[in-house]
Amino acid sequence: MRSGELIRRLVLVPPTLFGVAVIVFVLLRVVPGDPIAMMIPPGASEADIGRLRALYGLDQPILQQFATWLGQVASGDFGRSISVRQNVLELLLARLPATIELALLATMTAVVIGVVAALVGILLRGRRAEWVVDGGIGVLLAIPDFLWALILLLLFGVLIPLLPISGRIDPEIDLNLRSNFFLIESILTGHFDIAFALLHHMILPALALALPFAALVARLLKASLAESEDQDYAQIARARGYSRPNILLHEVFPNALIPTVALGGVQVTLLLGGTVLVERIFSYEGIGNMAIDAVINRDFPLIQGLVLTFAVLFIALNLLVDLMVTMLDPRLRHG
């Protein structure tokens, strides 16, 4: 991706976000159920309901509401959550780091598992044991992340209670950190006891998110490795006296990585989407978990803020993937 392309992509970000904003705004107001209905006590008078509606601006025409909200968002004000009664932006900033850390840990775990599985699989290529690897990958891929969450929770939380099954960290631990990136900050500042306690809580949800993604990475990478190994340059490397593991690692792997990152990188968005249910199952305090509460309570401002946040994450991820592919493939760098 050359700089021209990068600029073009960046220019497209605001219109994309605007489109997302329109869709979520309209959908929320077309679908039945509104936040006021969820919060009024039984027996409230029509006048009370009307006052509440006016308070949140819900008595205005949709276009008017949208214009008001958009103006506020543009100036960094996402409004107040109706159900939690806090500033939406503050809520997001408090919770987003938890989700980012979980997704990062899950992605890294998945990449390690996936790359190892693919390399083992390709080394066994053509032998009977290759089927074992392919079968294992198939099983991992067939079970979705939330099911893994339940399985892991039952196995390591209930049957063999090795690991905590809820929350981000034990409440009695004094964090005393400056940012909300607890894990990253505690590692960077050398508070490894805290990092360890955090990881203890994150292992199960991260693993649940990682396993299907690891299988995807393994399958993509193994297929690309097989394809690259059949190319002339890899065959010729054999005629130059390099051993097969050497060729796979040094000649084939750098080539196979390109399609794997291009196709697999975008799939991290699926993993991010998976955080919604998995965070819920493990009562992990990230934005995914918060999204479910927001939807149950029809908390319009919070839902809108969350959807925009996810949209920004997805766009950033796609850009990042394209940048990485460009770095890996010299043919894209020089056109």
Binding site: D232, A239, R240, G241, E251, P254, H334
Partner: protein, 291 residues
């Protein structure tokens, strides 16, 4: 004197079909032997068998391949690998697909030198620069830092030739190294191979369709058809007094400057039919039976 390469009674089968049906051929030290024959004759299979590059479903069912007297098929994997790329080298057919697309030219050559000759990074770089200059690349420093897609096909073939001769091989197998190039570049590449093999004292097994090229650079030649050697000998003898009808037909089908175009005759179809039906008959004899 031990032959650099001695192939004896080599039989190679793909599934039930015999691709090579008992091929014998040798290449003496410093000799250039042409290997000709129509498409599908098994020329590349022979080269691949020597280099240990036979496709997965292929098997050698009989015969011996000796390099400087040592049986390549019988020796340990590690020993064979130490010969390949160092003592036995390959100039591939298609320069566009034969270099690793994500590695710089300098690194690809340098790795080979470090792998086989144990050179340091610095020494490998110096030697790489020399090698590129040797294949008439005028600005080696610049080319070192380029990726394969940034240079032309002719240039890539030069790089591949430099890699083939990098470790002073005793034998170079060139499988139609000029077919993928255009005519003017073909001639330059041929001259280059000729110059380098003289300088490095390498023997060459030169696979080609082009009898003109054989006449020019090969001292001896072997005519292959349907996996068998039909004729072999000194190039001048074979070309001037071809004994086999197929060789005569092949010669007649080759365009020559001293002969009018209308005299060009294709290889007679009934001759090819006859040879192929014979080959088919040979296929009915089980390939493994001979082993």
């Amino acid at each position: 004197m031990t032959a650099t390469l001695a192939v004896e009674g080599l039989k190679v089968a793909i599934g039930a079909a015999n691709v090579l049906r008992g091929v014998s051929l040798d290449v003496q030290p410093g000799e250039v032997r042409g290997l000709v024959g129509e498409s599908g004759a098994g020329k590349s299979m022979l080269g691949r068998a020597v280099l240990g590059l036979l496709p997965a479903n292929t098997s050698v069912t009989a015969g011996r391949i000796a390099f400087e007297g040592r049986d390549l098929l019988a020796m340990a994997e590690a020993e064979r690998r130490s010969l390949l790329g160092r003592r036995i080298a390959l100039i591939p057919q298609d320069p566009m697909t034969s270099l690793n697309p994500v590695k710089r030219i300098g690194r690809q050559i340098g790795n080979l030198l470090r792998h086989h000759l144990g050179l340091s990074k610095r020494a490998a770089l110096a030697r790489t620069t020399e090698l590129l200059a040797e294949v008439a690349i005028h600005d080696p420093q610049r080319v070192l830092a380029l990726y394969p897609h940034e240079i032309s096909g002719g240039m890539r073939q030069r790089v591949l030739i430099a890699m083939a001769f990098a470790c002073d091989p005793a034998l170079v197998i060139a499988d139609e190294p000029t077919t993928a190039l255009d005519v003017t570049v073909q001639r330059q590449v041929l001259q280059l191979v000729e110059r380098l093999r003289l300088r490095h004292g390498s023997a060459v097994l030169f696979v080609t369709h082009d009898l003109g090229v054989v006449a020019k650079i090969c001292r001896s030649m072997t005519v292959l058809h349907a996996g068998r050697v039909l004729e072999e000998g000194e190039t001048t003898n074979v070309l001037v007094r071809p004994r086999h009808a197929y060789t005569r037909a092949l010669l007649a089908a080759t365009p020559r400057a001293d002969r009018p175009a209308e005299a060009l005759r294709p290889v007679p179809p009934d001759l090819i039919d006859q040879l192929w039906s014979e080959a088919y008959r040979l296929d009915q004899v089980p390939a493994v039976g001979a082993a």
